[in-house]
Amino acid sequence: MNWEVVIGLEAHVQLSTISKIFSGSPTRFGSAPNTQANAVDMALPGSLPVLNHGAVERAIRFGLAIGANISPRSIFARKNYFYPDLPKNYQISQYEIPVVLGGSLSFLVDAQPTTINLTRAHLEEDAGKSLHDNFPGPHGEASTGIDLNRAGTPLLEIVSEPEMRSAAQAVAYARTLHNLVVWLGICDGNMQEGSFRIDANVSVRPFGQKEFGTRTETKNVNSFRFLERAILFEVQRQIELIEDGGKVVQETRLYDSDRDETRSMRSKEDAHDYRYFPDPDLPPLVINPEWVAQVKASMPELPQQLSERFANTYGLTQVDTLQICNNRETAAYFEAVVAQLAGNQGKLAANWLNGEVLAALNRDNLDMSSCPVKAVQLAALLTRIIDGTLSNKIAREVFAAMWVGESGGEPDAIIETKGLKQINDSGAIDALVDGVLAAHPAIVQEYRAGKQKAFNSLVGQVMKAGQGKANPQQVNDALKRRLDS
């Protein structure tokens, strides 16, 4: 049977505020346990939460960036459950009316433009941490420690519609989301420190079936690679289970990267009754149009806006712009390159950026921020293509040398050292052409007999004679002139 995969993702994005969402404690990572927990974070008697407006501002930014609705009045609710690192034994979260509703993200999957709709994004507080390993109790016995430094850290939980149909799509969505929140400056994006965490809701159904299959929720996925592995494992597990006559159970599963598998954490039967109700300590969150306008005015140019501008200014395709506007560094790199080039050479810059540069980055597993070829250097290289010094082919050779830092990564120096300058001199090209025509009368004969392929063969011979440096256009023209005269 053919199976269709259905995936929805929930991202927990730690917002980049200095203090916590309901208290004045700092949110820094890595401090000594319980040094960043005050009376509110410890849920001491008489303590009360007060909303950090910086967290709200970041949520508004996100909502605007994905074209969502910003709720003029959203509600904080209490999600009640007992857990030792949840000091109040309820989590303050948004339930019925979240701050952000709807919106969408567009990105490329295998060069295919894809749009995924978002359900909602809501503000909530993080819990603390339980330390199970090597934590001796007062009498040396094995114990669990509680660190409340993280308790109350602001999170934006971003929920997608179940619209993704492959692990590749899910990873592309997650990467795009990650890039966006970093682009917006609302999250540091550090996945090792847990600033960006993904839960994957996965189900399968026979192709053509309308109803969703039973889904599982896989937690603890802290890298894009693991996300892909976890989804692939889970899809395979579900398909095998069903094909063996079993049934998928609705449950929460945990991804174990060491064993590359997902494991059951708790089933639906163990699911808590969270007894949500509006938090009486916090009045409704009112966001008036003025506040939204103020946030809007302070926003960086968004990927969508930038894409449109690039498309209009440089005649780029959607594939081009989605790739370039995938993250802020790439877009900035593109703009820096274009700024160095005379005339409107956006298309050339885009082709190189999305071609050579991204391929090299991917091959070496690098980020744009650590790209060894600087924008100004790439611009210098492209200038040599534009002025005819280099053919595209030779330029790629120069680029490879720049990438590994030859001659300080300066293209002119590399061209000089390697003698890669294109031959543009018509006299020299004519001489090459004449030599080839004289040496291959048989091919000339074939051409004259009407074989178009023979022409290409002659071009090849001339290029070979010129060690690839002859200007291909000029070679073409000169050959045609000679043969057709």
Partner: protein, 515 residues
């Protein structure tokens, strides 16, 4: 033993004595601490720290000597054990918080320290403010100074008893469903619950957050005004704290100014000071199992208002009866969540033996919480549960809106204030309500609706009615105003007290009948 505060009928009179050096704050504090010890059987106090009280008194004397005394400098008060304090233990009268000391003071406590008051300690109450008789306390019941075998009311029973017994000039209380007004009524003293949001809840141990509001208990409306004025101010640490009361900044001085304006207007009217005042009397209030003696005293008080020039208007508050089911859904729902933090992990009582974490928390809570608290936690958990939320919690919220609308349909339109009883009976004997918990709940009929609506209300003594053992026990009159009209209520009560002397009646011997 003599009672030193009997010599001072009001805060103002004690103020003069302190300013004229007839007595020092330290002397007064020392004497009162002795009286507290002598009246130990009253069980009004649950924690003392004489050293700290005397340090505060000494500071007050220095302020007075420097000629910088404010109205409350050196005035002896005490705090309900619901307010967290750095200097005294804070337990909410619960075993689960036995020995707990807060690293910070409640906003109310801070404000009263700034105002120069001297705190004698912490006062008994019902556990987590859940109860109407101060019988649900881990410290045992507080007693009513009018008769040792009747309850002082609750949950601020210790506060009302201490004021009535003359151990403090005033005390703080909290009122979630009548917990300031009702004990004030049953102990023959005055108490006010201000508009929700005017006094910060920061540092007030939460019972039902959307209903909890702090308020003072004192001997007279004027003393209440001085206390409330010092307590009421905007606090950014409480997100429900109100910054602006109908165009007036919520800060110290607001209540006093409003009170003074109303007082001056009333005084100008001479022999009929209440001329032009429309007093609404709800029809529903006199058919709800109201005790005859209480009805008689309340009716007489209303007649007294008329004699002073007010015009009586019959009004209807049709949803009054629904306030009991609405309250006993909303308050336990919030409480079940508010009290979840007492899990024996970070602080508080921890059981001796347990098998695992869940067992530790469950056993500690079972041992640490009293029966009434457990009852309300279970009830609240139930009404918030999946499948019951709409039928109970949402329905109760709808009733809550209807009740608030009832008041808005009459206040300012048909009447200026509403008068009525505080409690259907005088103080009942101890142990009476233990048989049926819901019987205790039904007696809250006159007080709950104000908390549901968030309106201000107060209780002042208006007479006596025969109670347990044939003893004449105090009756309270409730005054209700619209939002932020505490100043007007206090001014009316003050002038009523000017014309009557119910508020200056004191129990003969607070502990005389105790054996």
């Amino acid at each position: 033993m003599t009672q030193i505060l009997k010599d001072f009928p009001s805060i103002a009179s004690l103020r003069s004595a302190l300013d004229e050096r007839k007595i020092s704050s330290v002397e007064l504090t020392q004497t009162l601490l002795k009286e507290v010890a002598a009246q130990n059987e009253l069980n009004a106090f649950v924690d003392l720290n004489p050293e700290l009280s005397l340090a505060q008194a000494k500071a007050a004397d220095q302020t007075i000597a420097a000629g910088q005394a404010q109205i409350l400098t050196g005035i002896p008060i005490a705090h309900k054990d619901i307010f967290v304090t750095k200097g005294w233990h804070t337990t909410a009268a619960s075993k689960i918080l036995k020995g707990y000391k807060s690293p910070f003071d409640a906003h109310v406590v801070e404000q009263l320290i700034q105002a120069g008051t001297v705190s004698l300690g912490k006062l008994n109450c019902d556990e987590f403010a859940m109860g109407s008789g101060n019988e649900h306390s881990a410290f045992g019941p507080a007693h009513n100074p009018w008769h040792p075998k009747v309850v002082p009311g609750g949950s601020s029973g210790g506060s009302a008893a201490a004021v009535a017994a003359g151990l403090v000039m005033a005390a703080t209380g909290t009122d979630t469903g009548g917990s300031v007004r009702q004990p004030a009524a049953l102990c023959g003293v005055s108490g006010i619950k201000p508009t929700y949001g005017t006094v910060s809840r920061y540092g007030m141990i939460a019972y039902a957050s959307s209903l909890d509001q702090a308020g003072p208990i004192a001997r007279s409306a004027h003393d209440l005004m001085l206390m409330l004025d010092a307590m009421s101010s905007f606090d950014p640490r409480d997100a429900t704290s109100i910054q602006n009361c109908r165009g007036v900044a919520n800060q110290n001085g607001r209540i006093k100014q409003d009170f003074t304006q109303h007082s001056q207007r009333i005084e100008k009217q001479g022999a009929k000071p209440f001329s032009g005042l429309r007093i609404g009397v709800p029809e529903e209030y006199f058919g709800l199992g109201l005790d005859d003696g209480v009805a008689k005293a309340v009716t007489a008080a209303i007649a007294q208002f008329e004699a002073l020039g007010a015009q009586k208007v019959s009004i209807s508050l049709p949803h009054t009866r629904l306030s009991i089911p609405a309250y006993y859904v909303i308050a336990p729902a919030e409480a079940s969540s508010n009290l979840a933090r007492y899990d024996a992990i970070r602080y508080g009582h921890r059981t001796e033996q347990y098998t695992d974490l869940a067992d530790m928390t469950a056993r500690s809570r079972s041992e640490g919480f009293g029966a009434e608290v457990q009852r309300r936690i279970m009830l609240g958990t139930y009404v918030l549960s999946h499948g019951y939320y709409d039928a109970y919690y949402l329905q109760a919220q709808r009733i809550r809106r209807l009740i608030a609308e009832d008041y808005q349909a009459v206040l300012g339109l048909k009447c200026d204030v509403i008068l009525g009883p505080v409690n259907p009976t005088v103080a009942p004997p101890m142990g009476e309500k233990n048989q049926s918990p819901t019987a205790e709940w039904l007696a809250d009929i006159y007080t709950l609706s104000l908390n549901l609506a968030g309106l201000p209300g107060m209780s002042i003594p208006c007479g006596f009615a025969p109670g347990f053992d044939g003893q004449a026990l105090p009756v309270g009159l409730q005054l209700v105003g619209n939002y932020f009209e505490e100043g007007q209520l206090l001014a009316l009560a003050h002038h009523f007290q000017h014309a009557t002397d119910w508020h200056s009646r004191r129990p003969e011997s607070a502990t005389g009948a105790l054996v």
